[in-house]
Symmetry: C2
């Protein structure tokens, strides 16, 4: 299993997640556990994806002249209308994307896929598409779970997916200022491999890390698991290079992180713009020195409620630099799942029950530090605070097991889908004052939409003084029409999140799936500002139609 942060797996298979050689089946113990917990029973037999040859695919609608112009820019060998290339770019990795492809529906595939070789070629490709009136979908790792890379045509006759995989080089490093210029197509492991010789790290590790790219991190405001220690990706961006239908430019870069008062921070108009303004081709990022001293810790609370309070106190009393780099509090049901998977988990659970804790809540932490004394100091501060909240220490191996398995979830989803299960995640964030209500509201909405035979696990992470994120993973029996089931769930969860004052997405972005709520999220003035920038840079609207902005 690729676990090291510099292991670079093969790119995702067309019908599922990641490198098939690393596929992981769900442990057999899971099935009786789901049944005991919620009465959820998978189908007894596997229903694997259809064969590639059986996938239904429309004829490519892009004209010969346009293809010729694209080939003129990138070379004919880097423009493809072939079956596999189009199917591999037919969508992201959300449940509906995978369900459609597994059942042979690639009706949304792009008409062609272009593989430019550098920033200049990307700019030229965008210009060609603007000239021919072809919609453009930027494609990095293709890991979007919100429809962000769906090749929608909008009002155009054709759509091209621009795959940035060839922009995978570290262009320069400034070891004194600890910054680097990265090409946008670099995947997470490629970044850390390239920086390791300098003793520097980006420290950005979302669950999509092995497949997702720098450009995708930027376009979606990605948050890594260690954001408490390294910041969200957007916090590391010093400058970016953007190719738009009306020209190419570098934004930012004159001052170190935010240390300027020369007008608004305009790179923030591009960060999170999900390809609607143009294609980000190069990013200058702030790096940190590698922290060789790493320690995991596991703790447990009497219940989730006690964990909420302790996590708020951690964020507000310890603060940046002392706070663990990774902090994750599992609710009662997720605690069971995590403990069940770790060797030390089952006896640990028995111990907690013996204390009379009927629904204990598990917290896992990772602390990374340059200085062993500093690491020891931070651990002491953490332990003192957790004990004051009634927490008890659990075997460290539980947190270590979670960390070493953190990239497996998306692989196991494929096996769950083989067994006829409906699998989805819901993520949001809000203030500490609203967190409990939001947690309850989402739980209620999910059970109401999918029924009681739903396995729903939640956790809190990404702590800030003001609040934190909430993340849910859910399993249910797939219905006759799983897409309709999915729509029902998304509508219920989205409405519940907005009603409870949460944000519609903490780190998955908006794409197509969260558009129904974006006007309520940004407000009319916010939408006007975003549309004004869009109209200035992409007046014809060829860039990633149908995403982010409301109609």
């Amino acid at each position: 299993m690729a676990e090291s942060l510099t292991d670079l797996p093969r790119r995702s298979v067309w019908h599922g997640w990641g490198d098939p050689a690393l596929a992981r089946r769900v442990p057999a113990i899971a099935w009786p556990f789901f049944k005991a917990l919620r009465g959820l029973e998978p189908s007894p037999v596997d229903t694997p994806p259809v064969a590639l040859g059986d996938v239904r695919l429309p004829e490519p609608a892009v004209g010969r002249e346009a293809l010729g112009d694209l080939a003129g820019v990138v070379g004919p060998e880097h423009v493809s209308t072939e079956r596999l290339a189009r199917i591999e770019h037919a969508g992201g990795k959300g449940y509906p994307d995978l369900f459609r492809l597994r059942t042979g529906d690639a009706g949304r595939a792009p008409d062609a896929v272009v593989f430019p070789g550098d920033a200049g070629q990307v700019a030229a490709v965008v210009a060609v598409c603007a000239r021919h009136g072809i919609a453009v979908v930027p494609f990095g790792g293709g890991t979007s779970v919100v429809g962000g890379v769906d090749p929608e045509r909008g009002r155009f006759g054709a759509v091209v997916s621009v795959d940035l995989r060839r922009l995978n080089r570290l262009l320069s490093v400034d070891p004194v200022s600890q910054t680097a210029v990265l090409q946008a197509g670099m995947r997470g492991p490629e970044v850390e491999r390239a920086l390791a010789p300098y003793g520097l790290t980006l420290g950005h590790v979302p669950q999509s890390y092995q497949q997702a790219t720098v450009g995708g991190f930027l376009a979606t405001r990605s948050a890594g698991q260690a954001s408490s220690g390294y910041g969200r990706f957007e916090d590391t961006v010093v400058a970016l290079r953007l190719a738009t239908p009306t020209g190419e430019a570098v934004l930012g870069g004159r001052a170190p992180q935010g240390e300027t008062a020369a007008g608004p921070r305009l790179i923030d108009a591009v960060i999170g713009s999900e390809g609607l303004l143009g294609i980000v081709t190069e990013v200058t990022v702030q790096l940190q020195r590698v922290r060789p001293h790493v320690r995991q810790e596991s703790w447990a609370f009497r219940d989730t409620e006690a964990g909420f309070e302790a996590f708020r106190d951690m964020a507000q009393a310890l603060g940046r630099g002392v706070l663990p780099d990774v902090s994750r509090l599992s609710d009662a049901d997720e605690t069971l799942v995590v403990l069940l998977q770790a060797a030390a988990g089952i006896p640990a659970y028995g111990y907690l029950r013996a204390r009379g804790w009927r629904a204990p809540s598990l917290a896992v932490f990772q602390l990374e530090d340059a200085d062993p004394r500093s690491l020891a100091y931070r651990r002491r501060r953490l332990a003192r605070l957790l004990r004051a909240h009634g927490a008890v220490r659990m075997p460290r191996s539980i947190a270590a097991h979670w960390m070493s398995h953190r990239f497996r979830g998306p692989y196991q989803r494929d096996h769950l889908m083989d067994r006829g299960l409906f699998v989805e995640t819901i993520e949001t964030a809000t203030t500490w004052g609203s967190l409990r209500d939001l947690y309850g509201a989402v739980q209620g909405a999910v059970y109401a939409a999918l029924g009681e035979k739903t396995v729903l696990q939640g956790h809190i992470s990404h702590l800030e003084e003001g609040g934190a994120s909430l993340y849910f993973t859910l399993l249910a029996r797939a219905e006759e029409d799983p897409i309709a089931q999915w729509r029902r769930l998304k509508a219920a969860a989205g409405d519940a999140i907005m009603a409870a004052g949460g944000t519609i997405t903490h780190h998955h972005a908006v794409g197509t799936d969260h558009r129904p709520w974006i006007r309520e999220e940004l407000g009319d003035m916010g939408v006007r500002i975003l549309r004004a920038v869009k109209d200035e840079l992409d007046p014809d609207g060829i860039m990633n139609p149908g995403k982010l902005l409301p109609d």
Copy 2:
């Protein structure tokens, strides 16, 4: 002397800085010191400002109907065309502003000053001005040193200054999430006074603290002296309420600090927009718990070069949370000035010279912490690092004296001007890799522009992993035409900063003075983005004409 952070002095006198009752003369020892250091001699006699009655002021150009409509919104007692009110709003507190007023020139005064009472009235005032085609200048503390509140008419026949002093209330506090909603007209001390009962603090303390307002902090991307510990003001902004000529709205607020991926961070289009989009009336800020344990430290390096290296190592090795909340490294000349003013300074200087350090560099720090053990730990880490860079500990009272006198500088400028001196500051920021060159480039430009008889002091502060800010204070003999002298200096310094790769302003903002370089700073695409947002929210361009954006 008002030194406590909750002391609220009277508002600034029309011809100088702050509350005249707190005025501080330059210590007598300064004059021989300036002569010995650089051969700089002030005029032997004081030339005080002209009497208020002798200030030349044009007739107000605003029509009776417009005045009536404004009075209809705020009440006749809150609309003024009186002499003093117009003169008090004729400009900010830059050297040219003060020189003009001291010599009786209030030709730039606004035609009227309006004092709305709440956000709704501000929105209505902006609507009235839009209807009548009157330019609007938002006015908070009036502390701009870059012409940011100069009442320019642009293409309009009249200009009104909208003073937010009546919006000085704390509207609400969420003690669980540690956020508060502040009216934009609150001055620094008013904010801390209002938050103290909750045990919370904003921690934003720029040198303008006693006079500057929340709205100004936001509009100019203000950075406080303790930004390493509390962040820049922009880092604390969760949401804002904005009154524009095309409507009013709240932006942001659904998620705690940046914890969302729902499109770009649009409040960042408003933060730093210097009143060009509208008037910010209310701001939701993230607060921190008060840190009762405070400690100052003073250290010295063999030379400025050694200090540069140590400060970079501090920023990159200690990081947020461990780094002191305030860190300031004075170059050789500023070191002399600081030591000269502190009781323990002169013997300390003797000691450093006795070590053979011919041009020592002084560092002052302040650490603030909730936990005495944490404070002690941070001090140990700091001392270890500084000693590794050859620093020696100085009497703590030197740093304590600097901290307790930090608000006096602007007061003493008035006395320096009385004595016929030209006084200016230059501030920028860049990466650690470029910092030395930038420092040398600005020094060279200043001496070339003003001659060798210039007292020029520099310091580094606001440390980040990637770089830091550079700040210079300079004194020279005022020439026959000090405004021409000022223009010559600003042109030389600005060109030198841009050529050396620095940002044109670290925290003073752009206003009118830095506009010549803003296109080079933001790039053509940056200017296009900013103008597109401006045209959307303020299509007629009535908001703060002549600031920030290039013509």
